[in-house]
Symmetry: C2
Subunit: 355 residues, 2 copies
C-alpha cells in the first residue's frame, strides 16, 4: 500500500529546493522502503512568487528551471506574488514544509505560517529555528489538539538527528543536561585562530568559504546558538525558557593569545551552548566561549562540524557529531520528520479504527 | 493504564543484577513515564542456581542478598541447579532477558535460550553478542513469525544506542558504511602506549583498571570487535556475513615506535572495525589497526570510550560516541529494548484490534 502525501513548500531557497531535488530522485525508493511518495501542490517564495496546483507540480520543472524574480507566474496556478498564507490555506497539502528565513525576535512570518497550517488541518515540518525556539510547546499542543504533527528535527544541527536520538533512542536514560557545539561558523573561526589568524582574518576566511554571512553577528555573538539551546532545553529537559532568559556571549572577545595559551596544554576554546537541570529542578542555560579540557568529547570537534554531548544518569556522556548545516543535510531533516510522521500516522490510523 | 511485563533473567552476573537494581529503583518512574512495570518471575545462573516464581520475586531480595554457590535454593521456587531451559519454558515470562556469557564459535548456550524462549511465545532481549552475530536474521524471522520481538541494542556499545540510532533516527539517510572503535580495552591500551608504555605494560595497566580480562585475547586480537562488525554490517548494510568471513587482526603487533611516529603528525592508531557497501553491492568488512588522520571523527576518541561513524548519502559522516561497557550502561540497553517493545506492542495491539 502506498500513501501519497501532498506537501506545500514555504520558502524556495536552498533547503526546500534540495527537498524538491530529493523528490525527483528518490520517490520510488521511499515508496519501496517506507510506503509513501511526496507530491508538491503548493510553493511560496518571497522572490519567486507562488504556485497553487492541486493536481501536483512536476518537481523536475521546479528544480531545473531558472526562475527570475516573480518567475512562478509563468507556471500553471502560478503568481508573481508570494502569497504564502494563501498557499497554506488553499493548496490542498497534507503537510506544510516551513523553510523561510528565521526571525529570532518575532518568529514571523514563520510563526503565522505554522499556526495557519495547523488551523487548516495540515501537519507542519520545519527547519526554522524562530517559531520552534519561541513557541514549540504552544504549536505542539495546537497540533496535538487537531490530531496533527509539528516536527522540527532540522531546527538544530540540520539533519543530524539530535532531537530524535534524545526522544527515542535515549528514552529512559535520564538526560540531565547537554553541552553543544551548535554553530559551524564560529567553530571554523576558532580553528583558524588556533592556526594563528586573528579574529578578523579568520572571519574573512569563513566568509570566503561560504560559512559566514555578510553580517556574521548571529553566528559569532552566539545568538544562533542561543535559539538552539532554548529548543533543546525546552524539549529535552522540560524547561520553558525564552531566548531572552539565556545568558549569551560569543567569540569576538577572544584574542589569538587567549587561544594560543590553552592550545599548548591540549585544551581548546569552543563556543558552547549548554543547559542542565539543577538540584532544585530549575534548568540553567547559557551560551559562552568555554575552554574545554583535552579529554572532553567536544574538544576534538573541528571545522564546521557540530556536536552535542548529552549527560545521562544511565550512560554518562553520549555524544552525537555530524553536519550542522548544508542544503541536502537540512532537507534530509524534513524527510526524517515525514518518515516519522508516516510511521506514527500508520500506527495511529490503526488505533482510530480500533476505537 | 499500566502494563506489567513479567521477565526471566538468564545469567545473574553484573548486567542482569544491574537490571534488577534498576527495577528496585525505577519501576515507579517507568510506570509514570512509559506506562509499564517489570516483575521478575524467573532467574537462572550457572553459579547461583535458578528460581521459578510465577507470583514474582522481590528484586530487592535478589540484589541485596549475598548468595553463595547454589544459593538460590534457599528461595521459594529456587534450586541450586542452573536449569536455564526450565526457567525459559516454565517461568511465565513475557520477556526473556539473555545475559549469559558469549561463546563466539557456537553461540551456546545463549542461542538455545533464545530459540526456546521464542518457541515458548516469549519476547527476547539480549546483550549477548554470540547469538546475535551468528543468527540475528534467523532469530528475528523466528520472532516475527510468532508476533514476538528479538532485540539486542546492548550487543554493540552497551547502552549507547547505535542500533536504534541507525534504524530509526537515520532512516532514509542512506547508510553506505561505518567505522567504529568498538573495544574499550584495546583503545585504552593504545592510549597508554601513546603515553610511552610498551604493549605488555599497557595491558597490565588495563587489567589492573578492570578493563581487560585475565585472558585478553578476544579484546586485543580483534575477535570481540569482529562480532560487533558482523552485527552492524548485517543489520545496517543488509549483509549476511559470518564472523569467519571478516578479516581480523589486532593491536599486538604495534610497537611503541609505530605509535610514536604517527603521534607527532597528529595521527593516532586505532583498532577499527569497519564495513562498507561496494559498487557491486557486496559488503566488505574488516577489523584491523588503522592509522587515522587528525581530522577523522574517531581520532579524538580516547580511553575506554567507544564510537561509530556512519557514512551516509544524505549527511556525510555522523558519529555517536559513548560508553562501550559497564553494568548499568549495559542494563540500560535491555531497558531501552523493553521501552521500544512496549511502544511498538501498544501500537500493534491497536492494530490487531482494528483488523
Amino acid at each position: 500500500m502506498t500513501t501519497t502525501y501532498t506537501i506545500s513548500l514555504l520558502g524556495f531557497g536552498g533547503v526546500n529546493r534540495a527537498l524538491a531535488e530529493l523528490i525527483t530522485q528518490r520517490n520510488d525508493e521511499w515508496q519501496r522502503d517506507f510506503g509513501f511518495r511526496l507530491v508538491i501542490v503548493g510553493v511560496s517564495d518571497l522572490a519567486l512568487g507562488s504556485i497553487i496546483a492541486p493536481g501536483g507540480i512536476d518537481a523536475r520543472v521546479l528544480t531545473q528551471t531558472d526562475f527570475g524574480r516573480g518567475g512562478f507566474a509563468a507556471l500553471s496556478g502560478g503568481s508573481a506574488d508570494p502569497r504564502s498564507l494563501d498557499v497554506v490555506r488553499d493548496a490542498p497539502a497534507d503537510i506544510v514544509v516551513e523553510a523561510t528565513y528565521t526571525d529570532a525576535i518575532t518568529g514571523e512570518p514563520a510563526l503565522s505560517h505554522c499556526r495557519a497550517a495547523l488551523a487548516a488541518g495540515r501537519h507542519v515540518v520545519t527547519t526554522n529555528k524562530g517559531p520552534v525556539a519561541l513557541a514549540a510547546r504552544a504549536l505542539t499542543a495546537e497540533a496535538a489538539r487537531e490530531g496533527l504533527r509539528f516536527d522540527y528535527e532540522g531546527s538544530v544541527m540540520s539533519g543530524t538527528p539530535v532531537l530524535r536520538l534524545a526522544r527515542q533512542a535515549l528514552a529512559g536514560s535520564g538526560i540531565t543536561g547537554f553541552k553543544g557545539i551548535l554553530n559551524g561558523t564560529s567553530n571554523f573561526i576558532l580553528g583558524r585562530m588556533e592556526a594563528g589568524l586573528d579574529f578578523a582574518a579568520a572571519l574573512s576566511e569563513a566568509q570566503a568559504a561560504g560559512y559566514a554571512e555578510a553580517d556574521p553577528t548571529a553566528d559569532v555573538e552566539g545568538h544562533d546558538v542561543r535559539l538552539k539551546v532554548v529548543i533543546l532545553a525546552n524539549e529535552l529537559l522540560g524547561a520553558d525558557l525564552a531566548p531572552s532568559q539565556v545568558d549569551c556571549s560569543g567569540i569576538t572577545a577572544l584574542t589569538p593569545a587567549d587561544i594560543a595559551t590553552v592550545v599548548s596544554n591540549g585544551q581548546r576554546w569552543k563556543l558552547i551552548g549548554s543547559a542542565s537541570r539543577q538540584t532544585d529542578g530549575r534548568v540553567e542555560a547559557r551560551v559562552s566561549a568555554e575552554c574545554l579540557p583535552v579529554t572532553h568529547p567536544l574538544t576534538g570537534v573541528s571545522g564546521a562540524v557540530n556536536a552535542v554531548t548529552f549527560t545521562t544518569q544511565m550512560l554518562g556522556d553520549v555524544t552525537i557529531t555530524g553536519p550542522g548545516a548544508g542544503r541536502i543535510e537540512t532537507a534530509y531533516a524534513l524527510l526524517s520528520d515525514i518518515i516519522a510522521l508516516h510511521r506514527d500516522r500508520t500506527a495511529q490510523m490503526h488505533q482510530e479504527a480500533a476505537e
